[in-house]
């Protein structure tokens, strides 16, 4: 079936970007596995391209033919509504052929391995694989099994790079008088606080890499049980007091408390939802106390837990802008990674 040996040499976990023939204005990477190894120039190129893609979404005909003939597989091993629909719309807006795969009801439930699933799908002549998987590193593994382009749509608690990119684009669109460089994707001097279960959040991890690359200052805030042990090596400030995190902060990004994963109570990471909301939830009083503060959330929101319901609907919450930007950012990533040399 496949022409290359299954025992071919294993590439590095994070394939080194090729510096040969690299022109400014192009990505150095073949895949998007995470933002950890993307530099500021590459992130800015994606965001700049996303800005032009967003203009397409405002037109009467919201479609361009640039990915005509390219087949994209959405390989979702974990439940997802927002991200999957966002990727699917992005693919369709670029005129790609789209195939959806979800683990339930597939051969995965018959015990097929990830490698076999991926290689079988590629044998049907597909070009790009979007993968969401509960295991960190699954997208990296996939790059060693198949020849197509791999885009990470969330791997366990590791990375969720397109979510971070859409968050960065949303921040760049904020009109903050003290941050004139934002529109040019210069985040120097921008203070961002990430609140909640940072340790188990792929969204937080990708955002930390992206924000640091663009020059922002990042503060992590949550119960000590939810803060990553490696925080110091990430170059971020850590606090377990909400007011410390919000004072002088431009953007507060509240993470979703994953009730289905760690829950409240004796086995959970915090005593009760009410106590969490009292100590770490953002309420109207915080918006009053910090008049320049903007609120972001990757969704889905637990109203009354990480954000009070009035805060979710507040004009300084840009949660729906994030969703709109998700399609534009994914169009940009698909366009930039689907160049001729990557599809042979």
């Amino acid at each position: 079936m496949q022409t290359d040996s299954p025992n071919k040499p294993v590439e590095a976990l994070n394939p080194e970007p090729s510096t040969q023939n690299h022109q400014p204005g192009t990505l150095k990477h073949r895949h998007l596995l995470g933002l950890a190894d993307y530099d500021a120039d590459e992130i800015r190129l994606i965001l700049q391209t996303a800005r032009e893609m967003k203009a397409i979404l405002e037109r009467p005909i919201k479609r361009v033919p640039s990915l005509r003939g390219v087949t994209v597989v959405n390989l979702f091993f974990e439940a997802s509504t927002r991200t999957r629909i966002s990727f699917e719309l992005a693919e369709k807006r670029l005129s790609a052929e789209v195939v959806n795969f979800s683990a339930s009801g597939s051969s995965v439930s018959k015990g097929e391995t990830l490698k076999d699933t991926a290689r079988n799908i590629e044998a049907m002549k597909t070009d790009v694989v979007i993968i969401r998987h509960s295991s960190p590193g699954a997208p990296h593994f996939l790059t060693r099994c198949i020849r197509g382009v791999v885009i990470n749509a969330g791997d366990g608690a590791h990375e969720h790079p397109t979510q971070a990119l859409l968050d960065l684009l949303t921040m760049a669109e904020l009109e903050l008088p003290k941050q004139p460089g934002l529109a040019d994707f210069d985040f120097a001097g921008l203070n961002v606080s990430i609140l909640g279960d940072v340790a188990h959040s792929r969204v937080a991890r990708s955002n930390i890499y992206g924000l640091k690359a663009l020059g922002a200052e990042v503060t992590l805030c949550g119960p000590r049980t939810m803060l990553p042990v490696e925080a110091e090596t990430l170059g971020v400030r850590v606090t377990d007091r909400l007011d410390d995190a919000l004072d002088g902060c431009d953007v507060a990004m509240a993470l979703r408390i994953q009730l289905e994963r760690q829950g409240a109570g004796p086995t959970g990471l915090f005593p009760s939802l009410r106590e969490y909301h009292d100590r770490f939830g953002i309420r109207l009083e915080h918006l009053d106390r910090y008049p320049d503060l903007r609120i972001m959330h990757p969704g889905p929101v637990n109203r009354g837990v990480e954000l009070a319901s009035e805060v979710v609907d507040h004009e300084r919450a840009v949660i729906l802008d994030q969703v709109t930007n998700g399609v534009a950012v994914r169009m940009a990533v698909l366009y930039l990674l689907s160049g001729g040399s990557t599809l042979e």
Partner: protein
């Protein structure tokens, strides 16, 4: 900005005075061609193709304003996402802004590009324009026509016709981005990175 190091200049085709004279003629041709319009500024508009076509279109607008006292609407078009050489390119070309600040519906458009070669960029630009609405008509202005067409596309307004060979490139250089007004015939790198049609 100097010419790319891979370029070997074979001839200078135009200097600054030539570029300006040709633009003067083209602006008068556009005015002449469309003088039967009752309200030119209502129906006529210029669309410059990224990158150098934009600057040429802007200069034409200013010259037409000086002649006729009419300031035509002016838009910017990037046809990158409509190109047909997606699989041939080593890397994706950068997407630049498209900004058409008027409704193209029922407009008479003049599309402006610096060089016409194979005609593929023009085809892409026409598709991009049609996705923005339904113009009444589209006329095409090419500052340099270097021949060697691969598609049945013919400019309505031509600055200068220059017979060329496939290995050559025409570099239109404009003071806004290149620091000089000039047109060169070069033995090029073959990748068409400098505002020529490429491909």
């Amino acid at each position: 900005m100097p010419l790319p190091a891979t370029d070997t200049v074979k001839a200078q085709l135009m200097g600054a005075a030539d570029v300006d004279r040709t633009l003067n003629r083209l602006s008068r041709q556009i005015v002449e061609h469309l003088d039967d319009e009752a309200e030119p500024a209502e129906r006529l508009a210029l669309v410059g193709m990224q990158t150098r076509g934009v600057h040429l279109a802007r200069r034409l607008r200013d010259k037409i304003e000086a002649i006729e006292g009419v300031r035509l609407p002016f838009g910017v078009l990037d046809a990158t996402l409509y190109r047909d050489d997606f699989r041939q390119r080593l890397r994706q070309p950068a997407v630049q802004p498209t900004d058409i600040p008027f409704d193209v519906y029922d407009r008479r458009l003049v599309l402006v590009d610096d060089v016409i070669y194979t005609g593929r960029s023009t085809r892409a630009a026409l598709d991009a324009l049609m996705d923005l609405g339904r113009p009444a008509s589209v006329r095409f202005l090419a500052f340099i026509d270097r021949g060697l067409r691969e598609l049945p596309v013919c400019p309505d307004f031509i600055g200068r016709t220059v017979p060329t060979a496939p290995g050559e490139e025409v570099r239109v250089r404009l003071s806004e981005i290149d620091g000089e007004d000039a047109v060169y015939l070069v033995a090029g790198s073959g990748y068409g990175v400098q505002g020529t049609e490429g491909a």
